[in-house]
Amino acid sequence: MPRSSFILRRLGRSVFTIWFAVTVTFLLLRLLPGDPALAVASPNMTDEARAALLTQYGLDKPLIVQYGLYLAQLIQGNFGVSFTQSVPVMDVLLQRLPWTLLLTVTALVLTTAIGIPLGVLAASKKGRFLDKIVQVIGVTGQSIFVPSIGVLLLFVFGLTLRWLPIGGAYDTDAYGLDWYGSVASHLVLPAVSLMLIQLGSYVLTMRSTLIEALGEDYVTLAKANGLPYRRILWKHALRNALLPTTTLIGLQLGFLVGGAVLTETVFAYPGIGRGIYEAVTQLDFPVLQGAFLLLAITVVVANMLTDIVYGFLDPRVKTS
């Protein structure tokens, strides 16, 4: 297939994915019960005033008209104005986005750095005691209820030992280099907590694909040729086994951005997930639509990154 048409198809699929997410959100918000004017107005507001609010929000128009206007707006790069905050939606979201990305990427780096070696260890000791231990640790991590471990971590490291701060993303009175230090120290607990619950996926994926790879003919061949086991493991089998893990990283990067609501809640971290939760409680349609759009874009970008990494890793993709 010519390269340009491949890229075009990829691009088309990305736009389609984003359109789908946007449309699903748009329809859900309008077809499910919920009156934003009630959510915004104080209880002593008259019915007329509330009706006026709905008109101001454009919610009095027929659904199809609203949808058309919304898409037209999006194409012009206009994401609308928040119902409750009266400011452009992107102003609201972009304040939170960098923190979400920082937390997400840190957690992913931590998880891969720990998860992949553990998975390799488990696979190479398959069926032995060490394998079981690694499995149990990994699976225990992802079976934990986030807020429980969150409060425990805060209690131990924040209150009892006082090693780490409680809540927030940085100290408001830190400047210059100190500021970076405070960003880092605030990041530790939420990132570790996210790492714990993800670790299992990486360990198990790595383990099962590596076991699979170690059974392949070329590994048997390499063994027969007298290559040392460690070398086969790390050089040959691992390279292939990394592919599904890469897929996993790509998927999680996309989903972590909006999916860490509980972590952000417990650790008071200013992320997108918590922002979405708050917008839901305020029925702030434009912010929700903007947030889901942003998440869809993240997923698409993460998928593209995955493809690029795939190109590096998979010899078949490279040569074709």
Binding site: L38, N44, G167, L242, V266, Y269, Q282, L313
Partner: protein
């Protein structure tokens, strides 16, 4: 393998780059005066500010933070009486004209004086643009306001209303005309400081915001409404902790100095006994109640409402759910805190399931073999209201003992509001934070078409009394009229007021000098209190 590390490193680097632009540089060295300190007072809240425009914002955090910048004409005492704030004197010129005299020594943080013109302009703009905050709801009988001098505002009313001047004075903020008039409408002016920062006239002004994390306010050096003329803390920082457990941990670790939200009842004793933490009591000015929807033919019968009212174990609710931190109002909408109005001849509906049963029989219902009457009522409440969520279960269980089935329907706040607004319930359970003025509240709660008339009551005798109360300016006469009205409400179970909750607020013992005001809105985070707070010796 190496490639993976490269990609990871590239990702990390790109994030680092994004953030590197954010590192703030240190502010110029503080130029604080000698008497005032250089300390930062950090306050925890559970929600973000939704809207910085005090005429729009409805959430607690909105109120707390904008209240530090946009003065109110009047403040409130523990018994619900209004006290001078920006206004030094207020009242009526005649039945349809009110007035406020305001201080002449306040300035906006950009140097402009605070004048009667700001006050009048704010009121007129709110009336015209109908922003969604509480202020607009107070302007029912308001026609227009005029600044007759730099310090005097006169308010024209559409009809006689003896409560409106105090209600507008207490609920309404004053905003700087020269900033807000640039917007086409105050109803969608975000006031987010994007146009050269915030302009306020309180003890502190917002300077820096990190959404989802913190709101920083700097001291206004010249603030005549606090002793000494300068607020003591150099900075007030509100920090967002969505989870109350994290909030408490942060207070215990010294990360924050004050928790602005009222403590959950079960935590009060716990924190009173914690070292390093002080707990302040604040009187409540509102009430929690249940109303019985009279559009339901069963509930339209007085005996059925009475039966339900007698099937609630009020004592258990106050002792267990509220841990004894609530007082009975004698089942009257005139709570004991409104000491002038309170009428101790009204007593609480007695918890007596036998009486409830006989009332049901009087109403013409017959219990089946298992003792249950052929009725079932749907009680709605908001899940975000944890205290109500807890006692709703007790209400259901005690009613069951009287043979009356109650089906609980706790929902997310927005669904609850929609149901409430549509009258889609049999029994409504909820609470109001501040019910400071009986006439205003009775008008909203018991007149047909009133915004919070959840009973759908339309009783001519009651309507007449409320109308009289609204135009009566003699205080003693007004009190008597409202007591008569309250008796009608009580005897007909038009409303079932269950208690006034007293609130408790925690702060670090490193800080002292807070001034408590009633309700969660003012508590120890009112402007006067924060301006006077100082490090303990």
């Amino acid at each position: 393998m190496r490639q993976r590390i490269l990609v990871t490193a590239a990702l990390a680097a790109s994030v680092a780059l994004t953030l590197s632009a954010c590192a703030p540089s240190a502010p110029p060295a503080s130029t604080s005066t000698a008497s005032a300190g250089s300390d930062t007072l950090t306050i925890a809240t559970t929600t973000d500010v939704v809207n910085y425009n005090p005429l729009i914002g409805n959430s607690r955090s909105d109120y707390w933070i904008t209240n530090l910048m946009y003065p109110h004409l009047l403040s409130i005492a523990d018994d619900g009486k209004k006290e001078p704030a920006l206004a030094t004197d207020w009242g009526y010129v005649d039945a349809t004209t009110g007035f406020y005299e305001i201080r002449d020594d306040l300035t906006w943080s950009d140097g402009e004086p605070v004048t009667a013109e700001d006050v009048a302009w704010t009121m007129n703009a709110v009336k015209k643009d109908a922003p969604s905050g509480t202020f607009y709801g107070q302007l029912g009988n308001f026609e227009s306001a005029t600044a007759v001098s730099d310090t005097r505002v006169e308010v024209k009313l559409t009809q006689a209303d003896s409560s409106i001047i105090e209600e507008i004075g207490f609920w309404g903020n004053v905003v700087p005309k020269h900033v807000f008039e640039k917007a086409a409408s105050v109803a969608d002016f975000p006031n987010d400081g994007s146009d050269g920062g915030w302009v306020g006239a309180g003890p502190f002004t917002l300077t820096k915001v990190q959404v989802g994390q913190s709101y920083e306010l700097d001291r206004v050096e010249d603030y005549p409404m606090v002793e000494g003329g300068t607020p003591i803390p150099a900075k007030v920082v509100y920090r967002v902790f969505p989870d109350v457990n994290t909030e408490i941990l942060a207070l215990q670790s010294g990360e924050v100095d004050v928790i602005a939200n009222a403590l959950p009842p079960a935590q009060v004793d716990q924190l009173k006994n914690s070292s390093g933490i002080e707990v302040e009591e604040v009187v409540g000015l509102g009430y929690a109640h249940m109303t019985y929807n009279m559009q339901n033919p069963d509930l339209a019968k007085l005996e059925v409402r009475q039966a339900l009212a007698h099937a609630v174990d009020y004592d258990a609710i106050r002792t267990v759910v509220l841990q004894g931190q609530a007082v009975s109002t004698g089942s009257s909408p005139l709570m004991p805190v409104l000491s002038d109005y309170y009428d101790d001849s009204l007593t609480e509906y007695e918890f007596d399931t036998d009486k409830a049963r006989s009332l049901m029989e009087e109403a013409g219902y017959t219990a089946d073999s298992s003792g249950n009457f052929p009725v079932s009522f749907r009680l709605i409440y908001s899940l975000q209201d944890s205290v109500t969520s807890q006692w709703a279960q007790l209400v259901k269980d005690s009613a069951a003992k009287a043979g009356i089935t109650i089906e609980l329907q706790g929902t997310e706040r927005n669904t609850y509001l929609a149901q409430t607004n549509a009258g889609d319930f049999d029994i409504y359970a909820g609470n109001f934070a501040i019910m400071d003025d009986p006439v205003t509240n009775f008008t909203l709660a018991y007149l047909p078409g009133g915004a919070i008339n959840y009973t759908y009551v339309d009783d001519p005798a009651l309507n007449e009394l409320i109308a009289q109360g609204a135009v009566t300016s003699d205080t003693d006469e007004k009190i008597q009229i409202m007591r008569d009205a309250a008796k009608i409400v009580h005897d007909n179970v038009y409303d079932n007021i269950m208690y006034t909750q007293n609130l408790y607020f925690a702060h670090s013992d490193k800080w002292d000098g807070f001034i408590t005001k009633p309700s969660e809105l003012l508590s120890i985070v009112n402007p006067e209190s924060l301006a006077s707070a100082h490090k303990a010796e």
